[in-house]
């Protein structure tokens, strides 16, 4: 009886040893290459940029592995502010300046830009508000009480949209103004279904436009420029990795890659790299 218990204990001990060894192996596998948490925006993720770009980074830096968390710009900066993300690639200049001023981040560098566009129903109603100037188009939408869908999620696109409304002096808050609280792709689908207007980044629109019954209403207004910057979090767990990524994405090689992205599919780049002249 005692021998039986003893044997059992030995077996259990061996089992525990094996499990510990297994855990150790799993742990060492998981911890190498070291993970870099990159907080970025849904619009960047939806455009497919990371899917295209990250393999090149992993090729150049085999000891790091990037995990992308795609949220709104506001949330991305918040994640970086509490150290849940190591580095942020965002497009919300005002929020970025506040972020750096509060001491949450260093080395904010320009990476690339694209532009926002105002899109609306692909019909005669949509053409009515087509203007060269975004403020005039928004005033037209408000006057017609045409449906406008706002991201409503504190993202960079939402922040820009609020700025644009502010510039018109109008307060959009009636029943024609819907706050979706979702990502860019979902909002574009919704605008298409409802025949509504919305502000979007060009990349997400181009990547979805053959599935959308929407057309561009306003483009090229300087107020619509969308600058992306990279910021390393001061509270980064993997500070070295974060620095490596920020350095890489502003490097000439990466900038070249960004400039090539989307040309094959859409005939024009989705993002214009501008780190060098920043």
């Amino acid at each position: 009886m005692d021998r039986g218990i003893g044997r059992c204990a030995v077996a259990l001990g061996r089992l525990a040893g094996l499990m510990a060894a297994g855990a150790l192996i799993l742990w060492s596998c998981a911890s190498r290459p070291r993970e870099i948490v990159l907080a970025s925006t849904t619009s960047t993720e939806d455009s497919g940029l990371f899917e295209y770009l990250l393999p090149y980074f992993h090729e150049a830096h085999r000891d790091y592995r990037i995990r992308v968390i795609a949220v709104g710009s506001g949330e991305a900066l918040r994640l970086a502010a509490v150290g849940d993300a190591d580095v942020a690639l965002v497009h919300s200049p005002e929020a970025e300046e506040e972020f750096v001023a509060a001491g949450h981040g260093t080395a904010r560098r320009r990476v690339m830009f694209n532009d926002f566009i105002l899109v609306g129903p692909d019909s005669e109603a949509g053409a009515a508000c087509a203007q060269p100037n975004v403020a005039a188009a928004l005033e037209c939408i408000a006057r017609l009480r045409a449906q406008f869908i706002s991201r409503g999620d504190d993202s960079g696109t939402h922040a820009r949209e609020r700025l644009l409304w502010e510039a018109t002096g109008l307060k959009p808050e009636d029943d024609w103004y819907l706050e979706a609280g979702q990502g860019m792709g979902a909002v574009l689908m919704m605008a298409s279904e409802k025949g509504a207007y919305t502000l979007t980044d060009r990349g997400t629109y181009l990547s979805l436009h053959d599935r959308l019954e929407l057309r561009i209403i306003v483009q090229g207004d300087p107020a619509l420029r969308n600058q992306y910057s990279v910021i390393v979090s001061s509270h980064a767990e993997n500070a070295a990795g974060a620095q490596a990524f920020a350095g890489w994405i502003t490097s000439e090689a990466a900038q070249q890659l960004i400039g090539d992205f989307g040309v094959e599919t859409y005939g024009r780049p989705l993002f214009v790299p501008n780190a060098a002249n920043g």
Binding site: E75, E179, A180, Q182, E193
Partner: protein, 238 residues
Amino acid sequence: MQIIIDAMGEAFRLLVGGDPYLWRIIVRSLQVSGLAVLLGLVVGIPLGTWLGLARFPGRGLAVALVNTGLALPPVVVGLFAYVFLSRQGPLGALGWLYTPNAMVSAQFLLAAPYVAAITLAAVQSVPAGLRLQARALGAGRWRALLLHLREARLSLMAAVAAGFGAVISEVGAVMMVGGNVAGETRVITTAIVLETRRGRFATAMALGIILLIIAFAANAFITRMQQAGPRRRRPLTS
């Protein structure tokens, strides 16, 4: 830890203070899920009863399908509802996508099989002899059926509560077909997702507390029904 305590305190303040944004979301949740379950009962109870009592070829398959309803993934139901209700879809002319109607439809699709499956089990748990006895004593077909359902009523009430608890806490289907539009299709679960993403933890937690209270109430109701069950059934089985 401090952030959790702060958020909890703020959450209670919001709830007690009657924050209009919060209450509008809660009321919309109750409306959508309540109506969906009600419609689910109208379809689910007759279906479950029929499957429980009838004998026909292919019944085994039908029962298996209905029982699958207990584990129907909300996102898949949401996907189908979306495709059907979108403008290119067969029901696009209704214009229901991104309206509460769409959310009720999707949750109805989730609730109906749920209710049917529980009704099926409840009806089968009543001894078959009861109905035969009732018939022998001169009760008509429908009277005997009603008596049968009366016997199963406690389990049926549990089915209502369980179905309601299941649909009010799902997020996949309502997010897809409702679109989380503020003041229109934003319900407790979709609002929690959004508010957490925005870093407004207090609002998210206030909604989470309400959802927990609703889930608790539904389960307390089920437990009471189940406890009461055997005691009341005794005189009729003896």
